[in-house]
């Protein structure tokens, strides 16, 4: 034991958090041991009452030295999760993740006592994806809590969780999670393969993995989905997608991720399908607005004045009277100002955030118009654009970048440039894939069954089959006569 202890002490040298507690049995002096644990990460009650006390006061007769360890494990230690380990690495890892290790004199093995007790946030409402209707619980930073949130919703042995550790330094625990009878084996294999290829020092949030393993790494569009809501993840699992839970991150990744998912929210599936479809169309419309409105406004006022109705032209012209900047510069300035306000609002504490928005929106906007810096029509355009972009959190980034690209195209080439840009965008979207699944349905891959949950959300009883491209293995979602009362 002395040797082992020395080895451990040298590993944990100058680490004050690691504690070594020497033990000795009160009746048999020969039984000596040492408990090693990381301060603050263990449950002291378990360790004190069921481990240390047992070792000190147990009267398990001593047979042979090596036997004693197992005897102790079986008869004395009252803990549900114990295991034996011999390798130094395993032992140090156990200490580092927050377990206690019991070393006994005369035994080459150590007992790892799983008494990890990490303080963590309680399960709270997912703040990034709030819903009026639907479950209120959101993922936390703890992997096991997150997994339990998923498992408690799916009582099926087909739901598989596979752990692995990523990160040379952090050794972050991640968990691949899928329904074995639905999810495509190839996609699971591909995900495993990409995770195996990953060689990075640390994973702090699932965002690292998302960016490291995504298809089309330069595309502004996400090809891996994420959600903070267990209900959303379970819905995706049931569609045959594979989830990746990363310890320390409340955002769970899902693959494959296709274009229509950008506009879906979990709430779509709980509300009346007509209302949900309307909301979804609204979101798509909002994305289109956020993408094109400034560009189209600039091209109409600078190139294609004949396309505006005369009264509108005159009213825009009246607003532009005395404004010093060309429309393009105006649009750029105001869009940047809007993004500054948004970013400031996001970084600020909530209380100050409100001040920022009031100063920004009211004072700046109003004053800029009054001072004839900016035409009032431009304020409307920018406000419309900015608000529409916020409607779709998942495409916000892509839209932000592309909006400026379109604006530049419009400034040089008018509507012609915008159309050209739109063609390029569609070509790009059509060409990318996520884990072998085309991002957008093309003429070749489109199926009637698959479009029921894209632009609109068809009623549940009508979506009898799962998406063909994702869950080709097991497509039937419900029985033929699923709808009752007809």
């Amino acid at each position: 034991m002395e040797e082992n202890l020395a080895a451990l002490r040298s590993v944990f040298e100058s680490d004050d958090m690691i504690r070594f507690r020497m033990l000795e049995n009160k009746s048999q002096r020969a039984i000596q041991g040492c408990v090693i644990y990381a301060e603050g990460m263990i449950d002291h009650q378990i360790l004190d009452e069921y481990v240390i006390e047992q070792v000190i006061s147990s009267d398990v007769p001593r047979y042979t030295r090596s036997d004693y360890l197992e005897e102790l494990q079986k008869k004395a230690l009252i803990a549900s999760n114990l295991c034996l380990a011999q390798k130094l690495e395993k032992i140090t890892d156990a200490v580092l993740v927050g377990n206690a290790v019991l070393l006994l004199d005369g035994s080459p093995k150590a007992i790892i006592i799983h008494c990890k007790n990490l303080k963590s946030r309680a399960v709270e409402e997912a703040s990034s994806e709030q819903a009026v209707r639907g479950p209120r619980d959101g993922f936390t930073e703890q992997l096991l809590v997150n997994l339990s949130l998923i498992r408690r919703r799916v009582t099926s042995a087909d739901l598989k969780f596979q752990y692995r550790y990523i990160g040379r330094v952090t050794k972050t625990k991640v968990c691949i999670c899928y329904l074995k009878n639905i999810a495509s084996d190839q996609i699971v294999k591909e995900l495993e393969h990409r995770l195996n290829e990953l060689d990075i020092d640390g994973i702090v949030d699932s965002g690292y993995i998302q960016e490291m393993i995504k298809d089309s790494p330069f595309s502004p569009f996400d090809t891996i989905g994420y959600s903070e809501r267990p209900d959303s993840i379970v819905g995706k699992l049931l569609e045959g997608r594979v989830a990746l839970v990363v310890d320390g991150s409340p955002f769970v990744l899902t693959v494959p991720f296709v274009f229509p998912e950008l506009f879906q929210t979990p709430e779509d599936y709980y509300n009346n399908f007509i209302f949900a479809s309307f909301n979804r169309l609204l979101r798509i419309f909002g994305a289109v607005l956020a993408l094109f409105v400034p560009a189209i406004y600039v091209s109409l006022t600078n190139f294609h004045q004949e396309l505006l109705p005369t009264p509108l032209l005159l009213s825009i012209a009246a607003g532009r009277y005395d404004v010093p900047f060309p429309t393009v510069i105006e649009a750029f300035l105001m869009l940047i100002v809007f993004e500054i306000l948004r970013e400031a609002g996001a970084r600020m504490p909530t209380a100050i955030g409100q001040t920022v928005s009031i100063v920004g929106a009211l004072v700046l906007g109003e004053a800029a118009v009054d001072a004839k810096f900016i035409a009032p029509s431009m304020i409307i355009i920018v406000a419309l654009t900015g608000i529409s972009a916020l409607m779709n959190a998942k495409v916000q980034g892509a839209i932000l970048v592309l909006r400026f690209v379109f604006l530049i195209l419009a400034a040089f080439m008018g509507i012609y440039g915008v159309i050209f840009g739109a063609l390029c965008l569609v070509t790009h979207l059509m060409s990318i894939r996520s884990f072998g699944v085309p991002y957008m349905l093309t003429e070749g891959s489109i199926r009637y069954e698959d479009i029921k949950d894209t632009l609109i959300r068809a009623p549940w009883w009508y979506m009898r089959l799962r998406p063909q491209l994702i869950a080709s293995k097991n497509r039937t979602r419900m029985g033929r006569h699923a709808k009752k009362g007809t």
Partner: protein, 385 residues
Amino acid sequence: MACKRKIIALLLIVPLLTSLCGCWNYRLLEDMGIVAGIAIDKGTDDTFELTMEIAEAKSGKERMVDSHIIHSFGNTIFDAVRDGISIIGKKLYFSHTQVVIVSEEIARNEMIDVMDWMNRDSETRTDIELFVAKGMPAKDILMVENPSDNILSFTLESMIENETNLSKSRKTQTWRFANDLVSPGISPQIPAVMLWDDSEGQTPMTEGTALFHNSAFVGFLDGADTKNLLFVQDNIDGGLLTFPLNYQGEKISVSLEIFENQTKLETVWADSVPEINITIKTVVALDELQGTPGEIDGKLIAALEQAAEVYLKQQIEATIRLVQNRYACDTFGFGNHIYRTEPRKWKKIEADWDTIFPKLKVTVSPKVALKNSATHEGTISGGGS
């Protein structure tokens, strides 16, 4: 390799983008003079005098739209247009031009030149409303003090747009004029505009029609004749029929409101000489009944319908005779009707149409149906007896 391909594609796309993109230009809104309306007159020495109304936006606490007038001269219309730049310092912009007023002189001799520019220029639309100024220079119409706050050209445009409820003139947009000009067997027409004195000054009004023979202006029809012309052209969408009626020994004045009208032309051939039969089916409603004929019964309705038919026949035939005898231009489109229904026979008479038309025998048979008597069954009897 893929990267190289992409670069090559980009190098190909950029020149295509910049060279094959058609005709447009970057121009700022505030650098344009938005021309709302044009009046074309004959200047001295065979030049054109253009009077243009420029729509202008003025900003302030209250944003308003105003207009001002500029004059320019040129040997051609476009010459005059370009001269406008030196007057207001902005490039004139014609895509929002809504009216063009020509003087009688221009209409008589240079209508082709005007139409050529308006059809050829890439900025002018084909739905500009045309007017002929009756009895005055065209510029006087544009320069009149505007009765409403709007731009005069836009007032004129909405005036002619709503003319369908009156049927005393018919809007003619440039495409329509050009169409009629080149179609066989029909002469174009343009509504007339004049100034009307009211207590506070002058306001423009549109009534009547300027008739053209080929491209040359030949004369005006007044408002009543225009209505008859529109009846023949099947262009009646509303308007009134007012006529006196002798009923049970009493003379009463009647207004009927036209709800629907359907006109059918029919060609009858007598020894290769065409005759035109016109059937007019009109649905009207009683709108005004002066005098006190008592309860409106079947007898009164029959009498009204019959009187209306007689009145219509008489009026329309008179107008047709007037046009045949005085102007000899086929504004009604009788020749065009023959051309469309019997193109082979038209071929034979096409050359002589100008001589055939004045002698053309036209029979009008109207059929008036009284739909209702609006909100009253009887008349308000005076005296309370």
